[in-house]
Amino acid sequence: MTRGEGWMMTVADPAFRWGVDASRVERVIGRAEWSGAMPVDGAARLGGGVIRDEATRVMLFATETEALPVLARGEIALERVDGEARSPVPELLRRAGCSDALLGFVFRGPGEVTFLVAPKLLTPPVTSEESHA
């Protein structure tokens, strides 16, 4: 077993709740503390729109080369997830064009879901709007 297996780090973004495999997260720091490359706005990349909000943090993900910074807007929590609770993206939804960065769903209750995200697939070019966020 790898460290963090079964654990998900979730972000209660105002647009929707999303989460990542916690074992991929190296660090979470305040937005002001980050001075590296422009962070990817994860929720915006998934189609949630750009929300200007100063109260954001940066999640740093391990990649083969350098740390990938992703903006996390909203409360961050560490949650244990039963493997059975994870549902893959239906093939039809995938074929109809939903983001490749969406890996699946964790249903939390009626109408409540966490979108499981692959951070490294959130990385097309940064938009000018994001560069001012």
């Binding site: 647009a15 929707f16 929720a43 998934l46 189609g47 949630g48 059975e84 609770a85 549902s87 893959p88 993206v89 239906p90 093939e91 039809l92 939804l93 074929r95 109809a96 064009g97 939903c98 983001s99 969406l102 699946g104 769903f105 249903f107 009626p110 109408g111 879901v113 979108f115």
Partner: protein
């Protein structure tokens, strides 16, 4: 009665508001009660989200995109019934308001659509003309079907 005249098809009429449409009953797997659907960011108009069904995500298909007389699904709107139907790409969820019992009609009563919109074919059930929706055809027309399926 000859063999051709006796051929019957089983249809499942679905109602949204005052409008009815029919699907082939053999596609229907289950009929759920009021079940919220979840919009998925970046999803398409036709397949705008999912519902949770037996712990798995099932793609929602908005019939309002296909049939112009039907209202579209709106985010967080919940309809009274959800029909789970089988396609070559897995299950789809059809949020509707009413589900009629399965009706057996002579196949000869399926005709080219002249009274309804959105489907090339229609049928009259209980004096109501309604489009006959073929889910596989919808997927093919939208370029979603798996090659060779159908």
């Amino acid at each position: 009665m000859g063999a051709a005249r006796s051929a019957q098809i089983e249809l499942l009429p679905l109602g949204i508001g005052p409008i009815w449409a029919a699907i082939h009953a053999e596609c229907a797997v289950e009929i759920l009660g009021r079940t919220p659907w979840i919009p998925v960011p970046s999803a398409s108009e036709l397949i705008p989200g999912v519902i949770a069904h037996r712990g798995r995500a099932v793609a929602v298909l908005d019939l309002g995109v296909v049939l112009p007389d039907l209202p579209r699904l709106t985010a967080r709107s919940t309809r009274e019934r959800v029909v789970i139907a089988r396609t070559s790409l897995g299950l789809v969820a059809l949020p509707v308001e009413k589900v009629h019992e399965v009706v057996s009609v002579p196949s000869a009563e399926v005709r080219e659509a002249t009274l309804t919109r959105g489907s090339p074919f229609e049928v009259t059930i209980d004096d109501k003309a309604m489009p006959l929706v073929d889910l596989e055809t919808i997927l093919e027309q939208r370029g979603l079907a798996r090659p060779g399926a159908g």
